[in-house]
Amino acid sequence: MSFLTYLINGISLGSVYAIIALGYTMVYGIAKMLNFAHGDVIMIGCYVVFTVVSTLSLPTWLGMILAIVLCTALGITIEAIAYRPLRQAKSSLAVLITAIGVSYLLQNVALLIFGANTKSFSSVVNIEPIKLFASTGNAGLTVTGETVVTISACIVIMVLLTLFVNKTRAGQAMLAVSEDNGAAQLMGINVNATISLTFAIGSALAAVAGMLLCSSYPALTPYTGSMPGIKAFVAAVFGGIGSIPGAFIGGILLGIIEILSKAYISSQLSDAIVFLVLIIVLLLKPTGILGRKIQEKV
């Protein structure tokens, strides 16, 4: 039974990675940039929920909505101020470094406001654990409410996002901009608005992912978002960066590998194993599992 428990925990953690990775992959697909500050938007979302629910004692749903709204606004603002001016810069490294600067900025703002102490995040999920296969003399399998909500949230988000991208005009505009920025502009698509929209969706997803992550792992510090951010980036690359189903598959696989290697191999080496699997995948399939091969023109 313990294997199944680990597997479910892995899928749960993987679902969080998948939701974060969706934000990464959409932004990469459309703006061709690695948004290093994405992980810190997660952390900001968690602090908003923490402030509203634990400090101000207001209802949880209000905290969740506020966190999503604020993170969306934050994402749009960051893009407009820090990334947009550098979109036509000569080196793509310039915007990467600016993203790192934004990441430092968000971490230090959180550090100044909330201090370096670890805050205990109270779960936003209020569902009784579910017992499976329980019979007399057999404890069975207990699945926490957080796990159920995380996995279902991930599936719902995944389906909605796929529908949005493929069925709506705004989604089609996103596809067009990620395919060819210049041609999309000639077809009358507002490129700036489309990129803003992508950042808005990505940041809103980050807020959701943050709440789910902190509900399962309640320690909240200004650096909470940075490692999950890097892991989600790995997940996005793993599945093929720029691809929405790829981010989903990459995230889930990464979560499972991490939890299983923690359980069966070594808890200290679990990160190393995750990264090793990534390297092997990339060496066999250089653009990730679902990545497209880009033809090089002379």
């Binding site: 550098l86 000569k90 310039a94 940075s226 960066i241 080496l269 190393a272 990534l278 990339l282």
Partner: protein, 363 residues
């Protein structure tokens, strides 16, 4: 001689800046004009300068993004500290042991760079970046679970804990897992740091001017064109990557022989460190060696100078970083600067036409 001077004028200025900075700093230290905190920062500062210059070989000269540079520094730091700890009673001449330690750090980091580079340099752009980041993290994690001890039977290895080494009572633990290596002889000092910077500069600047360097830059500018004129892509990519890694190893040696307890924490050898080195390189101008030195010095000293602002200093650091990037790279800001320099009479104008907006080094 005169011809040599004119041909290498640029490089000589770079060496000169380093030496003059050393002389000024050293005399300020002897006059006790700088705080002890600042004095203590001098050796790490030298290590950062070497790291920035060496990463510039990968990012600026080879044109590939690496986010795992701290991993190579980590290899250099640990192999050399291990060597020094092992031979501290065998080789009693300090400078000889330290020279050997530097060579060991250089070779080991270069070798790891070579081994990692062989498979991963086939990847491109952001994929290469994430794989180098992954390797950096793997190196750090592996060192954190490594236990090495020594007794009269020789060396013992384990990846579990210190007890699993099965040593005699008199045995000595050299590498103690996450606690790392303690009691490395303190051989580094500011002057040695400066000498190592000069050697690094000598290697890198000569590489750029050599036939090999031109081949590497040809790969950066256009892989297909370079390949079609017969440049061996794999060989030169590996050459640049290994040299870059080996020099990062030297920085690691300098770093590890300056502190009493060497641990592989996320702060000193994690991806954050790699990113910080990348910030030095990009801010100093990609491919611009002198720029790397200056930005490494400024960005290392900046948080110390802002220490009076206590909690706000990292916040200001972040804002300064964003503002500097926007100012130096945004096309609009570049136009504005070009127009401003154009408005200046005479000497400004010619420069603007000649350099256009490309005064930030090459891509």
């Amino acid at each position: 001689m005169k011809e040599f001077m004119t041909r290498n004028k640029d490089n000589i200025i770079t060496y000169g800046i380093v030496i003059v900075a050393f002389v000024i700093m050293q005399s300020l230290i002897s006059a006790h004009a700088v705080s002890s905190l600042m004095t203590g920062l001098m050796v790490p500062l030298c290590a950062y300068v070497i790291l920035a210059v060496s990463l510039n070989v990968t990012v600026g000269i080879l044109g590939e993004l690496s986010l795992g540079h701290a991993g190579f520094m980590c290899v250099g730091a640990f192999t050399s500290a291990f060597f020094s700890k092992l031979t501290v009673n065998v080789i009693t001449i300090g400078w000889l042991r330290f020279t050997l330690a530097i060579l060991i750090g250089f070779v080991c980091a270069g070798l790891i760079g070579f081994l990692i580079g062989m498979p991963v340099l086939r990847l491109k752009g952001d994929y290469l970046a994430i794989v180098t980041l992954a390797f950096g993290e793997i190196i750090k994690n592996v060192i954190n679970v490594l236990y090495i001890g020594r007794d009269s039977n020789g060396l013992h290895f384990s990846t579990k804990d210190a007890l699993a080494l099965n040593m005699e009572e008199t045995g000595e633990i050299i590498v103690n897992g996450a606690q790392g290596i303690t009691g490395t002889p303190k051989n580094s000092n500011f002057a040695i740091g400066i000498v190592l910077i000069l050697i690094t500069l000598f290697i890198v600047l000569n590489l750029i001017k050599s036939r090999d360097g031109r081949a590497i830059m040809a790969i950066r500018d256009n892989v297909i064109a370079a390949e079609s004129v017969g440049v061996n892509i794999t060989k030169y990519k590996l050459l640049a990557f290994s040299i870059s890694a080996a020099l990062a190893g030297v920085a690691g040696v300098l770093y590890s022989h300056n502190i009493s307890s060497l641990m592989a924490t996320p702060k000193n050898f994690g991806y954050n460190m790699s990113i910080m080195i990348l910030v030095f390189v990009v801010l100093g101008g990609i491919g611009n060696i002198r720029g790397s030195i200056i930005s490494a010095v400024v960005l290392t000293l900046l948080p110390e100078m802002l220490r009076g602002l206590s909690n706000y200093r990292m916040l200001i650091y972040a804002i300064v970083l964003i503002a500097m990037m926007l100012f130096s790279w945004a096309p609009k800001a570049q136009d504005l600067r070009a127009r401003l320099t154009g408005m200046l009479p005479k000497f400004g104008k010619k420069k603007t036409i000649a350099e256009g907006g490309t005064d930030n080094g090459n891509e």
